[in-house]
Symmetry: C2
Subunit: 398 residues, 2 copies
Amino acid sequence: MAPSALSQNTTSDAPAFPTKQAGQPLDASNLIYTYTTRPRDVPDEATADSSDETICSDHMVVATWHSSTGWSAPELKPYGPFTLMPTASCLHYATECFEGLKAYRGYDGKLRVFRPDRNAARLNMSAGRISLPQADPNEITKLIYALLEVDGAKWLPKERAGSCLYLRPTIIATQPTIGLVKPKQAMLYIILGYMPRQDTPPGGKRLLTSPEDMVRSWAGGFGYAKVGANYGPSVLATQEAMQRGFHQILWLYGDQGECTEAGGSNFFVVWHRKDGKKEILTAPLDDRLILDGVTRRSCLELAKERLGDEFEITERKFTIGELIEAQTEGRLLESFSAGTAWFITPISMIQHRNHEIPVPTGPDGGPAEVTGKIKGWLSDIMYGRTEHEWATVVSERE
Amino acid sequence: MAPSALSQNTTSDAPAFPTKQAGQPLDASNLIYTYTTRPRDVPDEATADSSDETICSDHMVVATWHSSTGWSAPELKPYGPFTLMPTASCLHYATECFEGLKAYRGYDGKLRVFRPDRNAARLNMSAGRISLPQADPNEITKLIYALLEVDGAKWLPKERAGSCLYLRPTIIATQPTIGLVKPKQAMLYIILGYMPRQDTPPGGKRLLTSPEDMVRSWAGGFGYAKVGANYGPSVLATQEAMQRGFHQILWLYGDQGECTEAGGSNFFVVWHRKDGKKEILTAPLDDRLILDGVTRRSCLELAKERLGDEFEITERKFTIGELIEAQTEGRLLESFSAGTAWFITPISMIQHRNHEIPVPTGPDGGPAEVTGKIKGWLSDIMYGRTEHEWATVVSERE
């Protein structure tokens, strides 16, 4: 049976942890605290959002790794620049991977993270794919909590209920060697910063299908891993799309134009199938073209649990041709993208070559019924309106 | 007609330069010289080669770029670490590209570079593909010369005739923004360091064909550009191959197993075709799967000029099946890889699944006839035994 977010508990084909790796394992209990002596002012959100440079919190967590000694004791230290040798592997060979997750200030005043264990597991999987050191996901998760414990209360204060900050765990190869080899030196770091809210584009999200001469990911490639190499090469097409008034690229694959990802988000369609059944549909994981998104997985799980009587919830290949046909026949009900950065964003239009595919939305391009329900359920979990095992309350120093 | 190294003068589909880019162009005539006050000792080559960390010369050239102001005045300054923000785009999204070329100490005492204009043009092309700022290749070339003018005499002294140093021009996105956008801040740098000689592996080079579940590059991807994203993801398979006693992966493509690249080098075969004609063969550029190698191009040009009466010189697709068949039928004459780092290296064996394909070489895995001729001609140009337009003598401060 093909792997799917619904049928398995582990991230797609993740290398087992612990792998054979010499030296000290990453150990969050050894965390060294070195506090900033120059705490910075917290910007208002409008200022933070309008900055060309991401504003981060006072601290970051850093741990270094060497192939002979393993992981150093991690350190929580003042946020600031790194020094890297010009020969550092990550600057030449994209020996780097990352995660994105958010910390949510609840309406009950509590600070929560959403399924951080899944992000930590995926970081470990991505590190294995890009020949970086692996680390126990539980320890990575503890380090995320440690950063939030110190900086959460100040940088996402209780007055900002309903807001979130973005967490970026990253592993880079620092090995200062020009030869292309498996890195012997690396660094894990976790930073916490502002990211503008992107889930309510006026009129809904507008997608342009990928140019005929560009493919984001391919069978036998690494589209399933959150490695830098999946992102930089996509900027060119995205930039051109944005100049034409679109928000993101809908990446197609293969001769038939299978719909895979929408920018850095997973892509969902809600429609009447030809057999009359209503279906919530997204691309499958089994060919490893797409990211096993935490939000994607959560959408599928919630939909199965709460909408399963009314809808088929399906992970399978579907093409842009099927989408055009459904729209033409009046069967297309909704479409949305799902991810951490863009959260759940209703899609109002898809342009494919000469075909403009209008997609029904709610008023002003807001979420229609299914999109709105799923978005609401997830928001309620993230912001503490609903108690749910996916949201972990983080203890904070006041 | 399909593009080929023989039929065109520009790197495959390079974005035209100058493109529409605001601000100051890169201008080597503005170079600022800031000399080191702590000149380092030049290591003997054995020491340099055995180091886990690449040893670079006293200086590097750096120029920064901002989308609003363009390129800064470039600076030749002491070699040393950079500071980068943890949010720097290149650390997350592989917004980075590079070049590799060598400086050769000739037997006549002169210092030469080999076709640096081609590397500079390709750097410009790669930068366009990965959404980094472009720069006039002529100015990049002049900056390469400037670094060699200052550090060449000391770091590659005349006593080391027949030796070379490795040049690494690199462009990275320094933009400190977590959002995935076209970078507004970037840096060009050029460093000069030691790289162990790799073109004479005892017994010849042993290749393992790529694992069935891994593809290096694909139609619609970016395999033709020298961007970091092509390299890091290949380390995993290469590392496994090395642990099994091979030197590099022979990357296959498609259902038929087309031979594309050998590790970071281009791949050549010399054989008797079925029609009896002798042929020197390498993969084509038209599907943009492979790098338009400077050494590849030079091999083709020299072979056409000097071996064209005896051999067909061909750029076309060929499969691992054809290779096995040729070996079985006694038609396989030679094979070699061609690139800057590995130079011209005779291949003595290719392992494909259960097939072991022995390849004829000279004594002890050294070059056979064609490989040896091409390697000799290129060496003679690089080290000044033959005057040739491809080798530029660099003026040096004594």
